[in-house]
Amino acid sequence: MDSLTFLLSGTVLAATPLLIAALGELLVEKSGVLNLSIEGMMALAAATGFIVVTLTGNHWLALLAGAVAAMLLSVVFATVVLIALGNQVAAGIAVGILGLGLSGLIGSPYEGMTVAPMARTPLPFLSDIPVIGPGLFNHPLIIYLAPLAAALLWWMFRSTKLGLVIRAVGESPESAHAVGYDVVRVRFLAVLVGGFMAGIAGAFISVVSSTLWSDGMIAGRGWIVIALVVFAMWRVERVVLGACLFGMAAIAELLVQSMGISAPSQLLTSIPYIATIIAITLLSMDGRRIRLNAPVSLGRVYAGSQ
């Protein structure tokens, strides 16, 4: 495998979980809810998925189990913020810590264990292209589904009534309510879907890309996901771009070092984070742009109207 092939395939592996979880978070934030518990949801899913793949050997079942586990955790979050009208930031952080704790608890008998990798599905013809083929089109099937999910979400927000309803609920819940939509129900379902996707992303890391479980292995990726959504200004196509950039920066750092090029590795390590700070700073220099793009009622409690 040459350097360029590795750069491509490594980027795809690193970007896929970020992309899946960020698409879910985008959906949740579009409906007006800020879910900060992604890290915990991914960790719980990673542990659950790993346990299932160890017991059954079925990677798809493991991804599904991880997704369902994270979705159940998102039910807790949604109940607190949408039914009990709790503060979204506090509830998100608390549920995130709960997820991290639960992942360590259920995962402890499996600590440091490894499993067989998921079978690859080379795409016909495409995978025969030199360099790009083995880099982009020789992966487990689940990886090709991530860009499809992005396309589906993009289409949904652009061209469907469902997309409009979700946006209406996120922009102006009072108006959405006035024209007859059940705001709490729409938001509740959005949070469930977001949790499900964070779960696929978390299980992807333990079951597909790393094939091992260790407590704390999500190592901050859930927070990168939240930064990605802001970085993308709540636009699907920019989430795809951001996830690829993040993934590529993370891989390029390791590749540069492995090529024997003398470069300050600590600086390289921080490039993705520096890039985020610069991007957010540039975007927020014009405050209107953030206000125009962010869902207006993001993070606000909606008590409903009697």
């Binding site: 600590e111 790393s210 292995m217 070092q257 492995s258 024997g260 003398s262 590795s265």
Partner: protein
């Protein structure tokens, strides 16, 4: 971390109630604090094997309490305070980052003894322990230089601290001694724990042609797992990880703290504990190389065994001059051996390594 703290406190409580009424004399409490979760392999597991040796040696004269997965900082300070409040006679602090909290507690409680991993500050009741793991990595470096077919070795290294730098240098010196053409690449992760990143680093090195990897201070079989999947060889740290890479593991450099812990606990029970700086290597069995894979010929094994015997007897030394650093500057004169204080504060890479140190 709340969960681990809680489970730790519960473990202390459980240990107290479990052993409470059985022994006639009150058994002495020995506490162990590990920075990572306890699993089948890794740093915490090797410390815990040392604990088992203590239990075996002293039977019902001691009872042990384990608190695992404790991050450095307030959590660690609370846990060690709790152990001392519970009456611990000796506390093993399994991470460098516990140093300042541990020292403060040691000054307040001269009646309690402490053993601290890889620290550099001692007190009358505060001893430190370090492994001369570079000796084990010198032996495995010889093996790597012998078995590499692509003449390319890749090192996945956690942090550029003196202990890891000494290991990297030992691998390089050994591999180039048996194979002058070998090219050695290194990826610094700048983190102690991020399994997915460790694996990406391993894949990056493999993409550059490395067919022998070194996994320096990765606590999980992350790199071993990649080596197995990609069909390359790997040398790992701390525990025998060959069950995670039956075809991949060339050897494992392992730690055994049993003798040291037993001696220290014995001294603490007799009131004779002295806070010293313990550095264990091949000679005293603290460091050993196990799980040798099947790639080496009989002659190669014999040559490595000969070097091992020389290192154990003191006839040979890993860092013997002439040694130059990457810039070509002479660091150790011909015929001299690098003294201990300079090995344990190493901040330069030897000639022949590609890449640089993070600073």
């Amino acid at each position: 971390m709340r969960k681990t703290l809680l489970s730790g406190v519960l473990a202390v409580a459980a240990a107290m109630t479990a052993v409470g009424g059985t022994a006639t004399a009150e058994p002495a409490l020995i506490g162990f604090i590990y920075p990572s979760p306890l699993s089948d392999v890794g740093w915490a597991k090797q410390l815990d094997l040392g604990r088992e040796a203590v239990v075996e040696a002293f039977g019902d004269k001691v009872r042990t309490a384990v608190v695992e997965n404790i991050t450095e900082g307030p959590d660690a300070a609370r846990v060690m305070n709790q152990l001392v409040t519970d009456g611990a006679k000796l506390v093993v602090l399994g991470s460098f980052g516990y140093m300042n909290d541990g020292l403060r507690l040691a000054r307040q409680h001269p009646e309690v003894s402490f053993l601290h991993a890889s620290g550099f500050k001692q007190a009358a009741n505060f001893g430190t322990f370090t492994a001369r793991s570079y000796e084990g990595f010198y032996l495995t470096g010889l093996a790597a230089g012998m078995v590499t077919k692509s003449d390319s070795i890749g090192i996945v290294a956690a942090f550029a601290v003196p202990e890891v730098i000494a290991e990297v240098n030992a691998v390089t010196l050994a591999a180039r001694k048996v194979n002058p053409d070998v090219d050695i690449r290194i990826v610094w992760l700048n983190t102690w724990f991020d399994p997915p990143k460790e694996q990406d680093a391993a894949r990056a090195l493999i993409s550059q042609g490395a067919d022998v990897l070194f996994s320096l201070h990765q606590d999980t079989p992350s790199v071993v797992n990649v080596a197995q999947a990609e069909g390359v060889r790997v040398v790992n740290t701390a525990s025998d990880m060959s069950s995670h890479g039956p075809d991949a593991v060339l050897a494992s450099v392992t730690y055994d703290w049993g003798d040291y812990f037993v001696r220290s606990v014995g001294a603490a029970l007799d009131g004779a504990f002295k806070g010293a700086d313990f550095r264990g290597g091949l000679a005293d069995g603290t460091v050993s190389v196990t799980a040798w894979g099947g790639d080496l010929t009989e002659e190669q094994r014999a040559e490595i065994a000969r070097v091992e015997a020389d290192l154990k007897s003191g006839a040979a030394h890993v860092f013997t001059g002439p040694l130059r650093d990457q810039s070509g500057k002479e660091r150790v004169a011909a015929g001299e051996a690098l003294p201990d204080p300079e090995i344990f504060s190493m901040n330069w890479l030897v000639e022949g390594l590609s890449g640089s140190l993070p600073n």
